[in-house]
Amino acid sequence: MSTDSNTKYVGKAPSRVEGPLKVTGQAKYSAEFSVPDLVYGYVVSSPVAKGKIRKIHADKILALPGVIQVFSHENVPTLAWFDRSYKDDVAPGGSPFRPLHDDEIKFSQQPVALVVAETFELARYAASVLEIEYEQEKHATDVEALREKGQEPGSGKTGYKPPVRRGNADKGLSKAEHRIKQEYIHGTQHHNPMEIFGATVHYHPDGKLTVYDKTQGVYNCQQYLKKVFGLSADKARVVNLFMGGGFGAGLRPQYELFLSVLAALELKRSIRLSLTRQQMFSLGHRPHTVQTVELGTGPGGELLGLKHKAVHETSRFEEYTENVVNWSGMLYQCPDVHLEYEVVPLDVFTPLDMRAPGAATGSIGLEVAMDEMAYEAGIDPLEFRRRNYADRDQNEDKPFSSKKLREVYDEGARRFGWDQRKMEPRSMREGNKLVGWGMAGGVWDASMQKAAAKASITADGKLTVSSAAGENGTGTYTVMTQIAAETLGLPMEAVTAKLGDTTLPEAPVQGGSWTAATVGSAVKSVCEALGEKLLKLAQKMDDSPLKGAKPEDVEFVNGLIRLRKEPRQSVVLRDVLQVSGEREIEADSSVMPNPLNMQKYSMHAHNAVFVEVQVDEDLGTIHVTRVVNVVAAGRIINQKTARSQVLGSVVWGISMALMEETVMDHRYGRYMNHNYAEYHVPVNADVRDIEVHFVEEEDPHVNPLGVKGIGEVGLLGVAAAITNAVYHATGKRVRSLPLTIDKLL
């Protein structure tokens, strides 16, 4: 593909192609598909954190007219036996949770029964009066109290990297002129996308299922159904056309999938099952994490030693891991590094990747500590980072495929006006408020996965590209459309993108910021393959000026196929289609990451965030009044949707820093603020000026598109920058997030 200055769509800012559907309420989410003769399910959740179910008194509610069935471990049919059948593509090590499997309660809010009735209201009511007897056992849920029981994980999920060690950190630190050692804590968080988790299962007369599920991976769910229920692929089609937010919550098959399919198969009926907002606090979470960071600098402000340890909880049955500490070994140059990472098994549900898993956490520890270190050494925090710039990935001892973090620093500082900052805390005011400026940044993997795509063009010049990726707000439909239109020289209106359906070519789960790189590359590849077929057809035309031309000799522009060197030598694409006599021309293709490049280079996106806060010191209130977030993430396919992702990341960072936390009452092992009134995320009034800027970064190694992904990198450093700004405003260093009113009093 040509550079963005020569492109028509790629790198530009077209509006979302699915926008009209979303703003008119016509976009269909999983619990909204109209299916005849639906029955409704309602889940009953465990009130205890650990124990056994002694008895489920289903008879009483089964007597209610309209109540169809109560599913529980007492009557669930024999299903797959081995753990591996329940393992999904992104499962961590251990034994996956099996809904309704046996009488054991492993965590509070565990689903223990599914009530099915003719209406939603009746199912809800019947569930509320279903009597269940439990034997309660002693549970343990407090990671802070049990942190000493942490153990280095043995397995973990795909992508987990054991903590890095190099040199001798203690020795490095002992040589330091200035040192700091601090502990940082943040509470549990839940993804809480706006759409409630739910599924509609269409049970067709021939026994086949169409499963509309809220998921970030239709193939991941289909695999699960195949293995757990022994269904063949043609019997279990999984569809997700629109997802009302995921943020990781839909990476793994959630229990609404299991329960709704179980009920549909057993009852031979179509069913709709929606969880409640309250039940969404039982779907996995960003774990409560305790971090310790130790830094030391030499006379020039150079880092001489770095230690970073993190401990968080996992469940008793799975060993959930995320990469919390490793970023600290690569973001800055440092010879002596010791990283540690431990998990504590507790009586909770398994944590689940949540937007920028690990890095969002680790960047709070590292980047607040870097600020503390800068102050200890008396160096401006941005200057301190520049002095410790890493030109090479020391973790893997590889060069970066590209890294424009210096330019990010320059651009961010310039846009924010960082040079006007006074170093001293409490030195800036506006009216009766203290003003603080803080900064921080982060690094995130630029990944690509294997994916397939299909393209077909009809005689009227309409192109359809498809790949079973997901659209959860990131703009996948739009990016697919842009790339296809660009590659085959068509207007975007002539292109239809299809995704989220297991009848389409396979794509990975939507996560890791890899979708644009992965599915984008697959779409580009399949359009190029289709282009070759079109060229051959064009060459068959009488007097074709393209005769003898190789694919690389031609380009597709404005509905024409033309010679690159002699652009006036062209044929009209639509004529090619018409003359060919074919109704439809198709191509398939699949892509995978280049293993050679992956071996040679460290591939990462970077960002830096500059924040202004105003603090009312008497009352402890904090307003984030200004944010500049500058990102270097390779090529940006769509400036508009990419900006929105980073804007959203900033809102997430504000949330992490100031308000978001699920609080557990350890006496009950239960999250107590499990609703949207008391689990606070920002509202419109919490958000003021946010500026997003992308630094141009060409990367020929990362993937054919040069895309690094931006769904996660934008979140990094936001919470740390706010924390640092609050210190600058008040002189008070808070090391426990969220930074609620009580912590500043």
Binding site: S128, M672, H680
Partner: protein
């Protein structure tokens, strides 16, 4: 939510009769809290008496120079009513500091008084709660009680009343008009809500079947020197950790009349007459305000995670009194006032 029957009453008499004629009946106005609690399986009425057709939605002057707020007038219509905004800006702004525009469009004035606590344990049927299930115990004591009371608590309950509107109504000395099976009566606002004592299941002093018909404001509206200050976990659409309603009447720099009420700190809107007395006749200075703040919180008791509220309440009182004395909050500045 359990099944229930519903009738929409056409008159107050009919509503009261309908209520008395059914077992486990409840009145439903806007429904914003009742339906929430029914879905949470906390409230279990078997019959609802719908009030939204009653002729109780007007806002009109009373003979005594005050203002009568109809029971079924919405919170939004009340807050944006010209006379409320001009004469009782404290009330207007307290209402607008609460909930969201949508909820204020639904919630009625009477319903605002009747809303129940937001205590996590009250809402979660998996945990004990004396208010929800008398005798089961109070899980908030010794638990996660960040949003709980520091004043007027008992061994059986530390819940707070969540309203913003009611804090202003307490400061304004409103009077609640009710009608019940035994006729009508009026209840002074300070006597309407009650402290938990050993019966936290009872939020207020209404008798069974009694229906609020209006909330009457006396003539004195403190429109010149007032403040409503609300401290919460985000800038909007969150319940108060601490809120303060202040009305002052000044003679030069001397306080002639003072009203002071707190929200988010007790089982009822917490008006402190003794502190008001301390303010009267005193110069409007920080020292005076501090003295009053100390007095209000003298008996305060933290429960662990809400200890911070004691200091926060003191500071909020001083700030609100300072703002009120300075005439800093204006009736016209509807939005920015309450949010420091």
């Amino acid at each position: 939510m359990n099944p229930f029957t519903l009738t929409r009453a056409a008159s107050v008499d009919a509503a009261v009769r309908d209520f008395s004629g059914h077992e486990a009946a409840a009145y439903i106005g806007g429904g914003t809290n009742l339906l929430d609690l029914m879905k949470e399986n906390v409230a279990h009425p078997q019959h609802l008496v719908g009030l939204n057709k009653l002729p109780l939605s007007s806002i009109e002057s009373t003979t005594g120079g005050g203002l009568r707020l109809g029971a079924t007038a919405t919170n939004a219509d009340t807050a944006w009513h010209a006379e409320v905004q001009q004469r009782y800006p404290l009330l207007s702004q307290a209402i607008l500091a609460g909930a969201s525009p949508q909820l204020r469009n639904m919630a009625t004035n009477a319903g605002n008084l009747m809303q129940r606590t937001r205590c996590y344990y009250f809402y979660d049927t998996a945990t004990p709660c004396n208010k929800r299930e008398p005798g089961s115990g109070c899980a908030a004591i010794g638990g996660y009680n960040r949003i709980h009371a520091i004043l007027g608590t008992s061994d059986s309950c530390i819940a707070t009343h969540p309203s913003d509107m009611c804090v202003a109504l307490a400061a304004l000395e409103a009077v609640v008009q009710v009608q019940g099976p035994d006729g009508s009566r009026q209840i002074k606002f300070e006597d309407f809500h009650r402290l938990p004592e050993d019966a936290p299941e009872r939020d207020n002093t209404l008798q069974a079947g009694e229906l609020i018909t209006s909330i009457d404001l006396p003539a004195q509206g403190f429109a010149e020197n007032f403040a409503y200050l609300k401290l919460r976990d985000r800038q909007s659409y969150a319940f108060a950790l601490v809120s303060v309603a202040v009305g002052l009447e000044l003679d030069g720099n001397t306080i002639k009349e003072a009203r002071l009420a707190l929200g988010g700190v007790a089982h009822k809107p917490w008006r402190d007459k003794a502190a008001e007395h301390l303010l009267k006749g005193q110069p409007a200075t920080e020292a005076t305000f501090r003295k009053a703040a100390e007095a209000v919180l003298k008996e305060a008791k933290g429960q662990g995670t809400n200890d911070f509220k004691i200091e926060l309440a003191k500071r909020a009182i001083v700030r609100a009194l300072t703002q009120a004395a300075a005439g800093e909050q204006k009736a016209s500045d509807v939005f920015t006032n309450s949010n420091p």
